[in-house]
């Protein structure tokens, strides 16, 4: 608690300078999120652990419904009222966010954690100018006047590459293009120089040429301020290009983690391997892709034992009985949750 009060009294700029490359910024341990539904309580995120480091990008990779966005919302404290964190810790720079009251969290995590959502038009308020929305962070956390906040907002808009910020500051969200709106969201997220930036599918709604611009902006901001970035995406190629480490999620569980190069170069979990094989880049035209049979289980039908058992070509009796834990693999910077983790010369899956 002492660190917390000390930190919140400092200016945002000072906190940025303290970050050193590769320092652990966020540690999530054993995070559980339950959703209350009329059908009963569903486990949307189960025992998820990962780490984000300063100046590095961690990718949470998975298909829709795997719990990656729910994990991000739990970390940011933005869960819907029907969802609760029921276990685990979320330690941001030494303070467990899950233990804070909403008021404490606002004060502490507000300036320290920024989040960028997928759909900028929904994330922005249509009835306020972008200047008002950008200035809000400065007014709340730094107590600036309206006028001073507007100046800050203009500065920020220029910083994220919005042309003519002095005139655009009084425009409404709908007057901007998709790419510009996403820049505004990013500006809001980094306004107070956070230590951690969560980007939840930040470019999924954008065209590739604009996606390249936005990813470049995120990279530049990360380099500039050494913030840790958690990139949530379903796009393997984006992970390959943007992330340092990756955590692959399936049906609410992390099934494999490690440096992107190693995980994609020699996947150890059959699901990771299946995903990589599904990318239509590595087979000739007209040839069949090695798709994964079936589809992910629905949340109320997640089986006992391994979550991937119904689609796994290597499934055995033990997989149906015991859920494999996330265990260290190799030299220790990789983990995998599988009873039959693949080795580099595994041929079992080559012609399935």
């Amino acid at each position: 608690m002492t660190t917390q009060t000390a930190r919140s009294s400092q200016t945002a700029l000072a906190s940025r300078d303290q970050l050193t490359e590769n320092e652990v910024v966020l540690t999530v341990t054993g995070l559980d999120v339950d959703i209350r539904t009329p059908k009963g309580v569903l486990r949307a995120v189960n025992n998820v652990s990962f780490e984000a480091r300063a100046g590095r990008t961690l990718a949470l990779l998975g298909e829709s419904g795997c719990g990656k966005s729910m994990t991000a919302k739990a970390v940011a404290g933005l869960l819907d009222p029907v969802a609760d964190v029921t276990g685990g810790t979320v330690v941001l720079n030494g303070t467990d966010l899950a233990a804070l009251t909403p008021k404490q969290r606002l004060k502490y995590a507000g300036p320290e954690l920024g989040i960028v959502f997928q759909d900028a038009l929904t994330a922005l308020n249509p009835v306020y100018t972008v200047g008002t929305q950008l200035g809000e962070a400065f007014r709340i956390h730094q107590g600036l006047s309206k006028k001073a906040a507007r100046v800050k907002a203009i500065e920020l808009m220029g910083h994220v590459g919005i042309p003519q910020p002095e005139t655009r500051v009084d425009s409404f969200p709908h007057q901007f293009s998709g790419g510009m709106r996403q820049r505004i969201l990013i500006a809001m997220a980094v306004a107070l120089n956070p230590r951690l930036l969560i980007a939840d599918e930040p470019t999924t709604a954008l065209d590739v040429t604009v996606q390249a611009q936005i990813m470049k902006l995120l990279r530049d901001l990360r380099t500039e301020s050494h913030m840790a970035v958690v990139l949530i995406t379903h796009d393997l190629a984006l992970v390959a290009e943007e992330a340092d480490t990756v955590a692959v999620m399936y049906a609410g569980n992390v099934v494999e983690t490690g440096p992107v190069r190693e995980v994609f170069g020699s996947p150890k979990h059959p699901y990771t391997r299946g995903l990589l094989d599904s990318v239509p880049a590595d087979v000739g035209r007209g040839a069949d892709l090695n798709s994964i049979a079936g589809s992910p289980p629905e949340l109320h039908r997640i089986p006992e034992g391994c979550v991937y058992q119904s689609r796994c070509p290597l499934v055995q009796d033990v997989c149906r009985a015991i859920r494999p834990a996330l265990e260290p693999e190799g030299d220790g910077n990789r983990t995998v949750a599988c009873h039959f983790a693949l080795t580099t010369d595994s041929k079992e899956l080559d012609n399935v």
Binding site: S177, T209, V279, D282, R285
Partner: protein, 358 residues
């Protein structure tokens, strides 16, 4: 050398589109003509797949809708095996509609939630009554279609929301196949699906084409998907087709700077770190089609643009070595340009990386 893009395409077309232009009138003051399609030339041969790529707002979907006669073009012609469908009436028109079908992007919005899967797939026969007449024949054909797309015929009584996304897209495909079409227009058929399910649907489409010989017009913004399915590719920008050629030509040796930028902007699944890339990051976004730039439409974002680009619309040109590979550009990309601009999408990366190293 060829003067129009059309003359660079397949020799015996099933579908032959020339000079297709479609303007929309937008209410409001000032210039209110939105040119969605500007003199589009296209050919599609029997049993082939034409990939249509471009960013949102470039006119891909308007083109698809016009090919299906859902929009009336302002200029130009569509010839379907020599006949102009816009000149058809009554029974002939009905017969033509049978031959061109569509699969929509969003399998969650494009299926009527109040109908069962079986009703959706067999609904086209309510209009085309002469096809599979009789209850028995229809039931048999329905079962056959469902099996063909990998659905259990016993699930015909279920409603769409009881199926997963991939299964719903299979229902959409079965509905399109119900009239035994010659061409299916697929408008972003897999972009709403997860990767593992997307691969299943792509395999299905591939398999159906081999078995039935149907031609596809495959619209997608996902270049790796287009590379996988298409025989030929047309790249659209702001209502025009700026480059066409075989898939290999367009992907490996793009001639138009926009194509090169598009290839360069899409992320690669290459983690070997062996091919450092100088990515082309275009500035700005696509200009408004209400006020397209003079001359070359791409010039406002093009790093090679010169004065001539602002005054003269570039003609389609191709190199002597690849006469069927045309681009509308005054300064097409050279092999040297491509080297410095970073390699375009490489198809073999993932294979190398996943191959056992031992």
């Amino acid at each position: 050398m060829s003067d129009t893009i059309a003359s660079t395409l397949a020799p015996v077309p099933l579908l032959d589109v020339r000079g297709l232009t479609k303007n929309f009138h937008v209410p409001g003051r000032g210039n209110n003509v939105l040119c969605a399609l500007d003199k589009i030339d296209l050919h599609v041969g029997h049993g082939e797949t034409l990939g249509l790529v471009g960013e949102s707002g470039c006119g891909k979907s308007t083109l698809a809708r016009t090919l299906l006669m859902l929009e009336q073009p302002d200029e130009g012609s569509i010839r379907f095996e020599g006949t102009d469908p816009f000149g058809l009436k009554g029974k002939q028109l009905l017969a033509w509609r049978r031959r061109v079908q569509m699969v929509f992007q969003d399998p969650f919005a494009s299926l009527n939630a109040r109908m069962t899967a079986g009703e959706i797939i067999s609904e086209p026969w309510a209009t085309h009554t002469d096809l599979y007449p009789g209850k028995k024949a229809r039931a048999a054909r329905l079962a056959e279609l469902m099996e063909l797309v990998g659905l259990r015929p016993s699930d015909g009584g279920k409603s769409p929301q009881e199926f997963s996304g991939g299964q719903r897209q299979r229902i959409g495909i079965a509905r399109a196949l119900a009239l035994d079409p010659d061409v299916i227009v697929l408008d972003e058929p897999v972009s709403a699906l997860d990767l593992s399910v997307q691969a299943q649907v792509l395999n299905l489409l591939n398999d159906l084409q081999k078995r039935l010989g149907v031609a596809y017009i495959f619209i997608s913004h996902d270049l790796s998907v287009v590379r996988h399915v298409a025989d030929r590719v047309a790249v659209m920008y702001l209502g025009r087709i700026v480059e066409t050629g075989t898939t290999e030509q367009v992907f490996d040796r793009p001639r138009h700077p926009y194509t090169a930028a598009l290839m360069s902007a899409s992320p690669h699944l290459d983690v070997s770190g062996l091919t450092p890339r100088n990515r082309i990051v275009l500035e700005g976004e696509m200009p408004s089609p209400l006020d397209p730039p003079s001359g070359c439409r791409f010039r406002t974002r093009c790093w090679k643009a010169q004065d001539v680009c602002a005054t003269t619309p570039p003609p389609a040109s191709s190199s002597a070595a690849e006469p069927l590979h045309a681009a509308e550009c005054h300064f097409p990309m050279t092999p040297e340009d491509l080297k410095t601009a970073g390699a375009p999408i490489k198809p073999k990366n993932a294979v190398n990386l996943l191959a056992p190293t031992s």
